[in-house]
């Protein structure tokens, strides 16, 4: 199998892994206690012990919208860098062959 076909299959598998939980718990959401972050779940478990966080973030994204903006920005920065270099290498190796 060519690596290209293999990579396509691997990406499909990743998509299945991400989609399967949403199918399994279809119709359930945050109100029913599903799909919140594991960080938060650990925080709750600690607070149940009576622990009070002694320090809080000095800045938090003011809304969920702005938080998703910053997450998208993080992904975009990474994706641009990866795309830039792989595109550059691809072009360079094509030039060499011609």
């Amino acid at each position: 199998m060519s690596t290209r076909n293999r990579d396509i299959i691997l990406l499909i598998l990743v998509a299945i892994i991400a989609i399967a939980p949403m199918v399994m718990y279809s119709g359930l959401g945050e109100d029913q206690g599903y799909f919140s972050g594991s960080d938060g779940a650990a925080g709750e478990a600690i607070e149940e012990l009576g622990y009070e966080p002694w320090f809080s973030s000095f800045w938090e994204p003011p809304s969920g919208e702005i938080e998703s903006l910053l997450f998208a920005l993080q992904a975009a920065i990474g994706a641009i860098i990866i795309g830039y270099f792989i595109g550059y290498w691809r072009g360079a190796s094509k030039n060499k062959k011609e």
């Binding site: 690596t3 799909f35 594991s38 960080d39 650990a42 973030s57 994204p61 990474g78 990866i82």
Partner: protein, 232 residues
């Protein structure tokens, strides 16, 4: 895997900072050395860091019904070693702590220790062990990324159980492993698969460079067919 801001008692924050700082410092020295000896590795370093940036921004639902994100720490660790991965992880964790209020500055030392040190150490060990025993690099990188990711979360669970051993250390560990590690298994598999995809690209375009960095062995037959890069 982020321990949230303020969720570790100050003494533990200090403890993990003390363990993490020397590794980060050593990582910075390693980066300086490797980019001086092999300037063309800068692009590979950028891609390794960028991969961590992308993967740690993807919050993926898990079969346990909660969400978590991969770490991306296996790739850089396999290529550059765990200390360099610690520096890359610190950059990612600072971005998330300052701009996203995910993780925190007080817990940065602990989060760097799990995602930047233990995870990459496991990934690097697995990658080197597998390739030395003759297993193909693609399979080795899958297990390196998978276990590097998983052990990041196992470490987080240990860190929290050590800080909050209630009612007992073991009971606390079971609770935190349930929250972090079990959730993480499918995501770690996804991370392994994504790492193989990017690995295929790197080995396709940069085999010489990976070999120079001791991250890949190329069989002698394929060596002849491709041009040899300078040693300087």
């Amino acid at each position: 895997m982020h321990i949230m801001e303020g969720f570790l008692p100050p003494i533990w924050c200090l403890f993990w900072y003390i363990l993490s700082i020397p590794v980060i410092a050593y990582g910075i020295i390693r980066i300086k050395k490797v980019t001086e000896e092999t300037p063309e590795s800068k692009s590979l370093l950028a891609v390794s860091g960028a991969f961590m940036f992308v993967l740690s921004s993807l919050k993926i639902p898990s079969v346990t019904g909660s969400c978590s994100h991969p770490t991306g720490n296996g790739l850089g660790a396999a290529i550059f070693g765990p200390a360099v991965a610690a520096v890359l992880a610190t950059i990612v964790l600072l971005f998330q702590a300052i701009l996203l209020a995910h993780g925190g500055l007080t817990t940065l030392g602990a989060n760097v220790f799990s995602m930047g040190i233990i995870g990459p150490l496991v990934a690097w060990g697995v990658y080197k062990g597998f390739t030395k025993s003759g297993i193909s690099a693609a399979i080795a990188i899958f297990f390196a990324a998978f276990l590097g990711d998983l052990f990041t979360y196992v470490t987080t669970s240990f860190q929290l159980a050590m800080a909050f051993p209630e009612p007992t250390f073991q009971a606390a560990l079971t609770t935190f492993l349930g929250i972090f590690a079990i959730t993480q298994i499918p995501l770690a598999i996804a991370e392994g698969l994504l790492t193989v995809v990017i690995w295929d690209q790197l080995t396709k375009y940069k085999p010489r460079l990976l070999e120079k960095l001791n991250a890949l062995k190329i069989s002698s037959s394929s060596k002849k067919s491709s041009e040899v890069s300078g040693d300087s």
